[in-house]
């Protein structure tokens, strides 16, 4: 059987695997043996392609054919398409929801064409378990450059000039953090990568760790060289077993090739990375709690005022802690330069933002867009809008501590500062879309339930305040709301935000405060008319039926 040279990659992200991608892969693999195609077809596993809604995903290169929702039964058809006269399997193409027109190439699909995938450049293209794939895309060249062509001051200067801000949520200027850690007295120093992504509905850090682990490692090694650290940790939730596995493979391969360990690439600089598995406490994403957790103690944030982690961190030593995506950006900043990096985004937010787009949206998945893009473009152009003809109601950004933004704010640019001004935040990049069938009081109740369970429990406003707000919201959704409840929520929400010890408590009231700010009429309908306008709260629907 004569076929042209092809590369078939099967997405092996967590989403596609749960949809049966492993089976698709093994059917393809068996088929290649049976048809003696080993010489012409290269089958590989890849990281997350991002278009999780349509998984399992299979791509055929060099044509760039994109097959979605592939099942093992489709495998024979895919082999037929590889024949000299074969045609791509049209029934597996993605169809434009508006026109039902099948689209063969992923570059033509709006979900991809409107994105700017730079951090995610390798996710979905390379086999995350093979270092050669990463090297073939220019991997570890930034490290080479940093080690041999740039003194550490210049690396930090380059990161500073790029305008890169921490992508874990707070948006602290990365270069400034590196400089502070470099200048901090004390040795040894540590580098920690924060992969404790605990927000409900967020999976962007996981996808980067699963799909392109080497880019994270490369960023960490460059950071370690710049600040003078010898030991690093990747803190990953134990709920991310695939990320843990792939990071461990990547670390072993990087060691084998001399990118990690003693005397990296013959430069004399040595650095080692370990994977540390967190036990799944949301609050351990906070820097001081994370550090305590690695030390083997109870993860409770330390109160301000206190020295920064860059000065007194892990085991009391200067520690650089950055998010997964921040580290994954570093090789780009070094190899393409700060000017290129800063050319994208807005005045104060440079580069790109990565979001996990979920909820009531046609194309859920992992996306990367330049900072400053409008919410409307993300939700309607890339996300394909709200499915089933329903109306858009709100979008929640920033995880459980973010706010819910209404349709009137759809033309707002997405960057660190605009989101905060609107009462929400960038967070680590969750984006949950809600349609007209979503009850905003119920949404606020859901997120408060989460924060009051995940609070560390040490400070009173957060531990008891979030519980109090949850109880009030719970009453409202059960038809037991009282007229004074909205004022109580506003008053106590503000006190919790102003007096809580750490960022968790300070931002926990956001979902309540923004839903009251933008959807007050729904609260009033629940409280005064004992009616849930969206028809979600069961007790209030039953009441209507009984009338």
């Amino acid at each position: 059987m004569f076929v042209k040279q092809r590369t078939i990659s099967v997405c092996q992200g967590t989403g596609c695997i749960s949809g049966g991608a492993e089976q698709v892969y093994s059917f393809l693999d068996a088929g290649i043996d049976k048809l003696h195609l080993r010489d012409s077809v290269y089958l590989k596993r890849s990281g997350c392609h991002g278009f999780c809604q349509r998984g399992p995903l299979v791509t055929v290169e060099p044509e760039g054919i994109f097959y979605s929702k592939v099942t093992p039964e489709d495998v024979p058809a895919i082999f037929q398409s590889l024949l000299a006269e074969g045609k791509p399997v049209e029934r597996l193409f993605y169809r434009d929801p508006a026109t039902s027109r099948p689209i063969a190439h992923y570059r033509d699909i709006p979900f991809y064409s409107k994105q700017q995938r730079t951090v995610l450049r390798n996710c979905g293209n390379i086999d995350p378990e093979r270092i050669d794939d990463y090297l073939a895309t220019g991997g570890y060249q930034a490290l080479h450059r940093a080690l041999f062509e740039m003194p550490s001051e210049r690396i930090i200067d380059e990161v500073k000039r790029s305008g890169l801000r921490g992508l874990g949520g707070a948006g602290f200027p990365t270069g400034q953090k590196w400089e502070a850690c470099r200048q901090a007295a004390g040795a040894p120093k540590y580098v920690i990568c924060n992969g404790d992504e605990g927000d409900p509905g967020a999976f962007q850090d996981r996808s980067v760790m699963e799909g392109d682990p080497h880019s994270v490692l490369e960023g960490m090694i460059i950071a370690a060289f710049a600040i003078g650290a010898q030991r690093g940790f990747v803190y990953v939730r134990a709920e991310y077993p695939l990320a843990v596995k792939r990071l461990k493979i990547a670390i072993a391969q990087a060691k084998e090739r001399g990118f990690l360990g003693q005397d990296i690439l013959g430069s004399g600089f040595g650095f080692d990375i370990e994977v540390f598995q967190g036990a799944g406490a949301f609050v351990c994403g906070e820097s001081t709690a994370l550090v305590l957790s690695i030390e083997g103690r109870r993860g409770m944030p330390k109160p301000l005022p206190r020295p920064r982690t860059t000065e007194v961190g892990l085991w009391g030593k200067p520690t650089l802690l950055n998010n997964v995506k921040t580290f994954a950006n570093i090789p780009l900043v070094i190899s393409r330069g700060s000017a290129w990096f800063a050319s994208r985004g807005t005045g104060k937010s440079k580069g790109t933002a990565i979001f996990s787009l979920t909820g009531k949206i046609a194309n859920s998945g992992l996306i990367e867009v330049p900072m400053g893009v409008k919410l409307r473009e993300i939700i309607f152009d890339i996300g394909g809008g709200v499915p089933n003809g329903k109306a858009f109601k709100a979008v929640q950004t920033g995880g459980p501590s973010g706010g819910c933004l209404p349709a009137t704010l759809l033309d707002m640019p997405v960057d660190f500062d605009s989101l905060v001004a609107a009462g929400s935040m960038m967070g680590s990049g969750g984006m949950v879309v809600m349609d007209e069938d979503t009850c905003m009081v119920d949404v606020a109740r859901y997120f408060l339930d989460f924060t009051c369970r995940e609070s560390c429990g040490q400070c009173i406003p957060c531990r008891v305040g979030t519980k109090q707000m949850f109880d009030i919201l719970d009453d409202i959704t059960r038809g037991q709301g009282r007229p004074e409840d909205i004022d109580l929520l506003l008053e106590f929400g503000e006190v919790v935000a102003r007096t809580s010890l750490c960022g968790l408590g300070q931002s926990a009231p956001n979902p309540v405060l923004t839903t009251i700010r933008y959807f007050r009429d729904e609260y009033e309908a629940h409280i005064y008319k004992k009616r849930c306008p969206a028809g979600v709260c069961p007790e209030l629907i039953a009441k209507v039926g009984a009338d």
Binding site: A281, V283, R298, M300, P303, L304, P305, R306, C452, R453, E454, S455, C456, G457, Q458, C459, I460, P461, R463, V464, G465, T466, K467, Q468, D471, I472, D475, R482, E484, L488, E491, F492, V495, R498, T499, S500, L501
Partner: protein, 220 residues
Amino acid sequence: MEEIGLTIDGLDIVAEKGNNILEVALKNNIYIPHLCYYPGLKPSGACRLCVVEVGGELMPSCLVPVVPRMVVTTNTPQVERARRAIVELLIADHHYDCRHCQASGHCELQRIMARLHISVKQMRPLRWARKEIPQDTSHPLFDYDPGRCVLCSICVKTCERVSSGTINFVGRGYGTKLGFFGDKSRCESCRGCVESCPVGALVPKSTLPPSTEPSVTTGL
């Protein structure tokens, strides 16, 4: 010892450098409510009741060291609003039954309520804790009522000074309480935790009444 000058509530005060605002205020008879601060122990900044205003910002006074020419206000509307809200939250969550509480009369929470003129009757209509959390009577020396505990961590830190930690926080979020590690406990029976508890959460085990009480006492 270096002395510095600062202002608290308009009063000029001379204080020892390195002390925190709360210590300095208390020493000068300026009351700042506090639950988790205990003289001689490292402040934890957890109760948030000792907030004061410095330069328009709310700060936990137990954690902020005094600096020369600092201007501290302990009674601005924003400070009082925050304190009142925190105390009300605490009361609504408290196993509120002073009559049967051993700490009644020397309870820090009662004292704070009196000082701030907060009474249960005039409180805002918050939701009261719905579930009664059972007492933990596993420890041979004392009983623990999680419903009365304010998680100030004073007992944890007191214990750490004596034997390396036989009391600590367990659980998370709203369900956080104290744990005593049962048989694994290295308790030295000093009762320091019970002594230092500001409320009635840790109380000595009540001595059992005799099962049969002699009705007549006879002398020989």
